[in-house]
Subunit: 410 residues, 2 copies
């Protein structure tokens, strides 16, 4: 008998039959005597349909109204799931962001949760009702509707689990858990039994699409145990939790890749103090997230400055960078979209030497040129030509013996 | 310079292009210096799509969740219209029921407005913003979402016009105004320049689909001038307003028909005191609205009790009535679904004699048998066999010289 938060993503509630399937899963947990709070996303395709309506209307919709529009997707889902539960005789009640209330700042379409009032939810749970909460949405202090950005329902679920002090936050999705790498390009990929918050954060931000990064940050901050599992099977999933000794035994837990970045090089930048801030200030003001940055000083007093940005922001970034390049007297700006970032992640790196050099050697043995390198305490990333992505993932997966990792029993 | 409330129905906002068309109409009014509050319905087809989702889920959805579901239709419309206005450089802000706030009772799916707070709307208007309000929806005292029933956006508009003391409430629809009868079955139908609240009420409840009955009651109660006009033309519409002398000159203003009722007869009811309440009590408790009632006393101490109910409620009504018939010792229950109610409406009837007998004679001259009759101060209704509907409408329209009525210039 515990309080459990469950989150079901868009494919899990993709049609009426699937919503009924979710309802019966929820009831299984409820009938074991647990209190259950369920967070749901919009039915798959629905958010895209709504975004498409906005795009048909205008290329740059008002952000406030955009959130009013897209938040309807989750509203439809909570109503339908609540109906499905009533239909099998279980008392349930739906909550929208403003009904819970889930307060956020006013950064429309990428708002951050600032406070959650749990009084109404607690009241429903005391009455043995299942509480169905619309993911992805909140309200700011002026009662404007806000949304948390794509994948924000994960964050809603983890934040609710934290606010309600839930035993676990179960994230139901269309994959069975967190894998050592993408099974689609590496048949030897294994499902992890558990993974630390920090590893999951690196995996999430590096392109593994299982959990939204912010939700993992939230889980780490409040110590929420997150279980990632499939809504289409009964197999055990992957637990995202605090680091423990067992995890540290493993040097590398996963290999990830990201093909959605582009590389920008400003050629022959005069090497003066303050240049970097002149380049990256305007980019950051335009809300573009720069990932890796490399600066190669040369002998003639100038330098080449290379960095990566999300491909979707490339056009905007280039406009800004070309202007800056003129202002600071750089020679030219070059772009390479055919890149991929390959990363290995593992908390074991902290206590194991030689991991980086092994990674470089493995890639080099395959004739793969490394364009950029960046490292953190538990991660090493290399930018390579994107045509080698699958090859690099497979050889690294094998070299670090991820195909031999202990897996969950099914 | 006035405060004007405009309401656009589902066909007027049926797609992106039409919403843009609405935006430019709204701006015309705004640019004349008026403050504008716009109420919109869901895009045509959207409410049906949502209702269909609910029906796929369960034959009897939770009423609370049903309202959560269907209210998303209007939410989509307000966001898109607001975007369309921003797109042409006009400041606009959308309001949902809970943001205005529009308070209602808790009768989900047929809630009644109890109170409207206008503070937030007034604030937006003072800032010269166009306020876009979601029709059809409100919140009860516990912040549950409610809806006002089909066509409820008309009521939202009129109620807002009353609360804001607007100069006029313009209802934009897909017809050009209120006609003397349905132009689809009577080519001689004329568009009325104006019509009294009472006449409009009779017309609305008798089957003319221009305005929701409740919105007209609201308009009458608060003296709101309602202008019905088309969003697809620039032609003047029909003003629904207080009765005046000019209107009283006209004996009959309109001929209406309603084919959506069924006739139920309880045969040989023992003629005892309290029988009527035994019959109609349970029907009314089931929220079925009985329209006409006729009782024919016969000589053997029993009576035939005939009444009409909406066809959609017939099944439910019959279950109840058959049980009651057994309890009170009636002989049988008979049903006729092939009926139509034909009515003539006009405030001039109050001061003109012989209108009823003329109506009966006109029908009789065509060999149309009258099954039931009911009258009010400004209306006479006859139930006939539905196959004569169009014929009856045309001969009455001609007999009362509605084809010669003074019309709006276009």
């Amino acid at each position: 008998m515990a309080l459990i938060v469950q989150k079901y993503g868009g494919t899990s509630v993709g049609d009426i039959e699937r919503i009924k399937n979710v309802a019966s899963r929820v009831v299984q947990t409820y009938n074991r005597g647990n209190d259950v709070v369920v967070v749901v996303s919009a039915m798959s395709g629905e958010t895209d349909r709504l975004i498409n309506l906005a795009r048909q209307m205008t290329p740059s919709p008002s952000e406030r109204e955009y959130d009013v529009l897209v938040s309807t997707g989750e509203q439809v889902s909570v109503a339908l799931l609540s109906m499905a539960l009533h239909n099998i005789g279980v008392d349930a009640v739906s909550f929208l962001g403003h009904q819970v209330k889930i307060f956020t700042d006013s950064a429309f379409s990428k708002a951050r949760i600032t406070k959650i009032e749990t009084e109404e939810l607690q009241k429903a749970l005391r009455e043995r009702k299942i509480a169905i909460v619309a993911g992805f949405q909140g309200v700011d202090e002026d009662n404007n509707i806000t949304t948390l950005g794509r994948g924000g329902s994960d964050t809603t679920a983890v934040a609710l689990a934290a606010a309600l002090n839930a035993e676990v936050c179960e994230i139901y999705t269309d994959v069975e858990g967190v894998y050592t790498t993408d099974p689609a390009i590496c048949p030897d990929a294994r499902k992890l039994k558990k993974i630390s918050y920090d590893e999951m954060l690196e995996m999430a931000s590096l392109g593994a699409k299982v959990l939204q990064t912010r939700s993992v940050e939230f889980a780490k901050k409040y110590g929420v145990r997150v279980l990632v599992l499939s809504s289409f099977s009964q197999n055990p999933g992957t637990l995202v939790t605090k680091e423990d000794e067992e995890m540290e035994q493993v040097v590398v837990s996963g290999v990830t890749y990201n093909k959605n970045e582009a590389k920008v090089t400003i050629i022959k930048v005069p090497d003066k103090p303050g240049t970097a801030s002149k380049v990256f200030g305007p980019i950051s003001e335009a809300n573009i997230v720069v990932d890796m940055i490399i600066q190669n000083a040369s002998e003639d007093g100038s330098t080449d400055l290379t960095f990566t940005v999300p491909e979707t922001d490339l056009k905007k970034a280039l406009e800004i960078v070309k202007k800056t390049a003129r202002d600071i007297g750089a020679k030219d700006v070059a772009v390479d979209e055919n890149i991929a970032k390959i990363s290995i992640v593992g908390v074991g790196m902290r206590s194991h030497a030689g991991v980086a050099s092994k990674m470089f050697r493995v890639l080099s043995d395959e004739g793969i040129n490394i364009m950029m390198i960046s490292t953190s305490e538990i991660k090493i990333s290399c930018v390579i030509n994107s045509k080698y992505t699958e090859l690099a993932v497979r050889v690294l997966h094998k070299a670090f013996e991820l195909d031999k990792i202990e897996v969950t029993e099914e």
